[in-house]
């Protein structure tokens, strides 16, 4: 298989206007990912599947990832002039990263037996605009898995033929796999109530008139 950089260059040539970048995975170098903009994700997916040298005909795994707002610390090398001589210093720079939801697709080629290529698309933010392009028209295997990512993460896949909740029930409102999900504090039955449970019950069902 070609390197991810070569594939990214070929995508840039084949799909006009695409924003594709390579993100290195520090743990497993062979499993680095290709991040594409959601507007061109469908075209990129079609290219990856149909291009003779790549033929990623098999989309194995589709999943969501939730990234909260975070402050990243990065080490950068800066040059500074000290006592008239230029010296290199290592400095820690803080950078704010707004949160987003991400869909990751693990692609393999059954015909050419190579892979994986990890394709990622990212939403604009975590709350208002959580739309991504559905890749179910390209790989049918994404159908249920994208439904699951919608169900548990709240990623809205536009172009999905049947986007409904799949594991949670239909009246459920929240998205349980998000990192800021708050578990409901009510419960039906506790066989041996103890301090923590009684405290939780008191908070959930406050006694009227109690001080």
């Amino acid at each position: 298989m070609e390197t991810l950089e070569q594939i990214a260059a070929r995508i840039a040539a084949a799909v006009p206007g695409v924003a594709a970048s390579v993100e290195t995975n520090p743990a497993v170098r062979a499993q680095s990912s290709l991040v594409v903009g959601r507007d061109h994700a469908l075209a990129v997916a079609r290219f990856l599947r149909d291009e003779p040298g790549l033929q990623f005909d098999y989309c194995s795994n589709v999943t969501g990832v939730d990234w909260l707002d975070a402050t990243l610390k990065e080490k950068v090398r800066v040059k500074r002039v000290v006592d008239g001589a230029e010296q290199e210093f290592e400095e820690t720079v803080e950078r704010r990263r707004p949160g987003y939801l991400e869909a990751a697709y693990h692609l393999y080629s059954m015909a050419l037996r190579h892979g994986p290529l990890i394709l990622r698309q990212r939403t604009a933010n975590r709350v208002e605009d959580t739309r991504l392009a559905s890749l179910t028209p390209i790989w049918r295997s994404a159908e249920f898995q994208e439904r699951e990512a919608f169900d548990l993460f709240g990623i809205v896949f536009t172009g999905h033929p049947d986007l409904r909740r799949i594991l949670m029930w239909d009246g459920f409102a929240d998205f349980p796999m998000r990192k800021d999900y708050v578990e409901p504090d009510d419960y039906e039955y506790e066989p041996t109530p103890h301090d923590a449970v009684l405290e939780k019950a008191r908070r959930h069902y406050p006694v009227e008139g109690a001080a």
Binding site: N25, P26, A27, V28, Q31, D57, Y58, C59, S60, N61, T63, V65, A104, H106, M110, R113, P116, I118, W139, R140, S141, A142, E143, F144, Q145, L152, R164, R165, I166, L167, M168, W169, D170, P176, M177
Partner: protein
């Protein structure tokens, strides 16, 4: 309606007590909008399927509590006479958010939870998980542990396929007998697992960097006796089933899955190979020590239910070859890397996707580490969940009784589908 008696106070009070079952005298011109739940489950004919011009489609909800749905699985089917015109799988009845549990406990603490995914094959679940962790942290596994993993995984494959064939013919009406023959052999494997790991089904045996404990004395000989008896059992099982008239009539040409659709829909495992696609991760990824064992990958010609049955029988024969060689060549040595750190294990930041050929298909684990003791993201790629994507395509146009058999040949376990 002019002769109807005028509404009295008595009738009004009765109407006020009504729960809504009383039919009003006059219907409104437009029907009321359907309730939200009704809209969600509204049955629409699939485009391209010819509708019959007589009668209506009958909507039936099969399951979740039905013996033929293999657990708490539900199919909402629309029937035209006996023919399936639409089929929507509904799941989530066994959902406990396994992935959230995995993210809230340590890397070591997740291993017992993986047993509960596909509760028939706890050892292959363990393997897929520890393989991902080993990939993430770059750990090595001693040779003896790799051999033990191969032996355990192939015994699991035999166990799973035996049960599948037993349940499949059970679904076709062979009540009990072949299933009990299969369970008799399964019992021997479970006894082996019990003496090896301490548990019959929830084995919790593999660790990152090896296995939890070494073999008990005499285990290899007992396993060898079981493996030696396997071909004779398979011969008997095949004589009983292969040319059975009912089995042939119920499975040949039923639920055909084309190789193109199978690849596109991500179908893996015996189902994919029954459609004639040569893709076995033991050959493709060569994880573990599978490149040391010569075995063949059986392929089907037609992709129908009979091929899916036959592939399982043939795979058991290949597993027998692997088991014979592995038990013969089992080297001495440690079963776990002494440097492997199980408690307080904190892999460096990064991500890894590891996958193995589980008996049901490709079982993958996708882990993202942020350097903390818990995984930041823990994802299971369950084979039977993805294999269910094309259940509708295989069942359309067949009878409802065939849909049950087709579902049986998909090989699902709800612990894994619902997670």
């Amino acid at each position: 309606m002019s002769d109807a008696p005028p509404a009295t106070a008595d009738a009004e009070s009765i109407a006020a007590l009504s729960t809504g079952d009383l039919v009003p005298d006059e219907f409104p011109d437009t029907p009321p909008p359907p309730a939200p739940a009704a809209r969600l489950f509204e049955v629409r004919p699939k485009p391209g399927v010819a509708e019959s011009d007589e009668g209506e489609l009958l909507e039936v909800s099969i399951g979740p509590h039905h013996p033929s749905t293999h657990g708490v699985f539900r199919m909402d089917v629309a029937l035209d006479g006996e023919r399936v015109r639409q089929l929507k799988p509904v799941f989530g009845y066994l959902h406990r958010n396994h992935e959230k549990l995995g993210e809230s406990c340590s890397y070591l603490g997740s291993i017992p939870y993986t047993d509960r995914l596909d509760y028939f094959c706890s050892l292959t679940n363990n393997w897929a998980y520890v393989l991902s962790v080993e990939k993430l942290a770059g750990l090595a596994v001693p040779e003896r542990a790799e051999y033990l993993r191969v032996i355990a995984a192939e015994l699991t494959r035999v166990l799973n396929h035996l049960c599948l064939v037993g349940f499949l013919v059970h679904d076709m009406g062979a009540m009990g007998t072949p299933l009990m023959y299969a369970f008799r052999e399964r019992e021997k494997i479970l006894d082996l697992f019990e003496s090896l790991t301490g548990a019959r089904m929830m084995c919790n045996y593999f660790r990152f960097g090896g296995c939890r404990c070494d073999l008990p004395p005499g285990w290899v000989e007992v396993a060898q006796r079981f493996v030696d008896g396997l071909p004779a059992f398979l011969d008997e099982f095949e004589r009983l089933l292969n040319e059975n008239e009912i089995l042939l009539a119920r499975t040949q040409g039923i639920g055909v899955l084309s190789p193109e659709l199978a690849v596109n829909a991500g179908v893996t495992g015996p189902m994919l190979r029954a459609s004639g696609v040569n893709y076995d991760l033991r050959k493709v990824d060569r994880y573990g020590l599978y490149d040391r064992f010569p075995f063949r990958v059986p392929l089907g010609d037609h992709g129908d239910t009979y091929d899916r049955y036959m592939i399982r029988i043939l795979e058991m024969r290949e597993s027998h070859k692997i088991l014979t060689q592995a038990l013969r060549d089992l080297p001495a040595g440690p079963v776990i890397d002494p440097k492997a750190k199980l408690r307080g294990f904190r892999p460096k930041a990064g991500e890894a996707y590891g996958r193995i050929e589980a008996p049901k298909g490709e079982l993958g684990f996708y882990l993202i580490s942020d350097g903390s003791p818990n995984p930041y993201r823990y994802r299971v790629r369950p084979p039977s969940f993805v294999n269910l994507t094309i259940l509708e395509d295989m069942c359309l146009g067949h009878t409802l009784a065939d849909a049950v058999v087709i579902l049986g040949s998909v090989d699902i376990v709800m612990g894994e589908v619902d997670r």
